[in-house]
Symmetry: C2
Subunit: 106 residues, 2 copies
Amino acid sequence: MQEMTWSKAEKATARLAFQRAYERECRALAGEVGAMLSSLREPRDIWRVHDFLTERRKTTDEKYDYRYSVLVFVLARLLREGWLREEEIAALSEDKMERIRSIAAL
Amino acid sequence: MQEMTWSKAEKATARLAFQRAYERECRALAGEVGAMLSSLREPRDIWRVHDFLTERRKTTDEKYDYRYSVLVFVLARLLREGWLREEEIAALSEDKMERIRSIAAL
């Protein structure tokens, strides 16, 4: 894939979209943890909550990689998973949007 | 310290007390996690919950060591920390109870 350049305005758009997606995902995760907590069958099942958070932290840290070299893939994934809406990144160049849409549709 | 022998009845008493203390501590921990969750300032603070559980899992795993060679120390600690009530282990021999009380009072 050809190296893409990001204008200052595009970087600001991408950064904001990325942060919003991250907040949404963390908020959803907190909701999942709350649901787990309220349905513990035994007190020791609290460690399942810990295992769950350990796993999610790993996947979340890997997913939210803000390097420009991989950013179209990251944004595409966030779009596909529903953490991001297309209109939030509509200010990106049309070639970037095409790439992101096509990757998201894979 | 002189090696102590544990009768079958004492083992049953100790095991039950140990399990109850563990359940109480896990239940209290779940309550603490619930309180943390309901007072997250930012969504990303969910990772503080993870850090907290990681730390507690380590200390809990270390504390709940059911080897007879260390059990009077463990029971004394559980007593001192309030996870165990003295009457729950009152069926242990008087020399064990004295040891446990004196260690708990340190």
